[in-house]
């Protein structure tokens, strides 16, 4: 017990001194301004990519290869978690919440889906994009798991379908990249590779950026929901009692 308290005090002292050290080392520019690559991106996004959202342009055009790598990390994680919990089959899931909650959820689902798709599809003209929209898509399946029980969720959106969606997202991303290579403009090239851009601010602008947004949205949505499902299916006890009287 004494040793544990001692350990805690040492930890607290270490963290406090580290925090003080970082605070002292902080250099805040008195008059911050754009410099380096950021200034170039802000000045040239319109002519280089045709997208209005500069963050999306950096993510899917200037640094598209980086994003491709990040998307691979999600894929690897999903493979790892699904592999760790592969053997257990879900015999019976939880019984879900009360009918009032189920009805309310049923009314909300279409709106959440519309919201998520608008975030993904308009990712190049408004703040948003594939990562955020995919996370909202995954929220729908997580809510299904919590409110209706994970067996219902698995019967409506089977894990196989999610797998296909995720893989096709990755393939779409790679195909857009390889198209640039085939056109002789380099991997994940955008306007140089012949993707046309409409007027800035319209839905069909930004060349390949909307396509890549959709690909990442499919990957993230399906990936996060697979992660949640793989983990919840082993946490729910099959030997649980009968459904509660509602």
């Amino acid at each position: 017990m004494r040793a544990q308290v001692f350990h805690r005090w040492i930890g607290a002292a270490l963290c406090l001194s580290l925090g003080w050290w970082m605070w002292r080392g902080l250099i805040v520019s008195a008059d911050p301004s754009l410099f380096g690559p950021a200034a170039y991106y802000v000045a040239n996004t319109a002519s280089d990519t045709g997208a209005s959202n500069i963050v999306a342009a950096i993510l899917f055009d200037y640094r598209g290869f980086d994003t491709f790598g990040e998307a691979t990390v999600i894929y690897t994680t999903v493979c790892g978690v699904a592999m760790l919990f592969a053997k257990r089959r879900l015999r019976r899931s939880s019984w879900g919440l009360s009918p009032i909650v189920k009805r309310g959820m049923g009314m909300m689902v279409p709106f959440i889906l519309v919201y998520a798709s608008s975030i993904v599809i308009m990712g190049h003209i408004t703040p948003g994009g594939g990562f955020q929209g995919g996370a909202v898509f995954a929220t729908v399946t997580v809510l299904f798991c919590v409110i209706y029980g994970s067996k219902f969720e698995a019967s409506r959106i089977s894990p196989k379908v999610k797998e296909v969606i995720e893989s096709s997202g990755a393939l779409l991303f790679a195909a857009v990249g390889l198209w640039g290579l085939a056109e002789g403009a380099g991997f994940l090239a955008n306007l140089d590779a012949g993707f046309s851009s409409g007027p800035i601010g319209s839905l069909f602008s930004g060349g390949a950026i909307p396509l890549l947004n959709i690909a990442v949205g499919m990957k993230v949505g399906a990936g996060l929901s697979t992660l949640f499902y793989s983990m919840i299916k082993i946490l729910e006890d099959p030997a649980e009692g009968p459904p509660p009287e509602v």
Binding site: H7, R8, G11, A12, L14, C15, L16, L18, G19, M22, W23, L26, V28, P32, S33, L34, P37, A38, Y41, V42, T45, A46, A51, S52, N53, I54, V55, I58, L59, R63, D66, T67, E70, V73, I74, T77, V78, G80, V81, L84, F85, T126, P127, G129, F131, Q132, A135, I200, G201, V220, G223, L224, L227, S230, M231, I234, L235
Partner: protein, 111 residues
């Protein structure tokens, strides 16, 4: 005022680090890791701030904040979620195997 954001980020990072090094429960360790990640992301987003500048969207009114530090957290959040998920998966496996999530009690090879 930007000092408040930086101070918050450093405080959150240190709280996460304290959780990471003093707790024996593996679940709490992972929570500490995720708190530390939140501090780092907050620091990155705050570092792009420019006073009296708008968001980096194209009909731009009076300059924009630095878009580059907004890009990295976007992917880092998803990466953080995935590595927390993988860590939790391993902890669940460890709990099934050893019957405990206390790092001090997980000893030796079993099974």
């Amino acid at each position: 005022m930007i000092h408040v954001s930086y101070g918050c980020a450093i405080a959150i990072f240190c709280i996460g680090l304290y959780t990471l090094i003093t707790k024996r429960n593996l679940f709490k360790t992972v929570i500490g890791l995720s708190i530390m990640e939140g501090g780092v992301l907050l620091f990155m987003v705050a570092s792009g701030f420019i006073p009296e500048a708008g968001p980096p969207l194209l009909p731009m009114v009076g300059g924009s904040v630095n878009p580059l530090p907004h890009t990295f957290p976007l992917t880092a959040i998803v990466i953080g979620a995935s590595d927390v998920a993988l860590a939790l998966a391993y902890i669940i496996k460890i709990h099934r195997h050893y019957g405990t999530v206390d790092v001090d009690k997980i000893r030796g090879l079993r099974g």
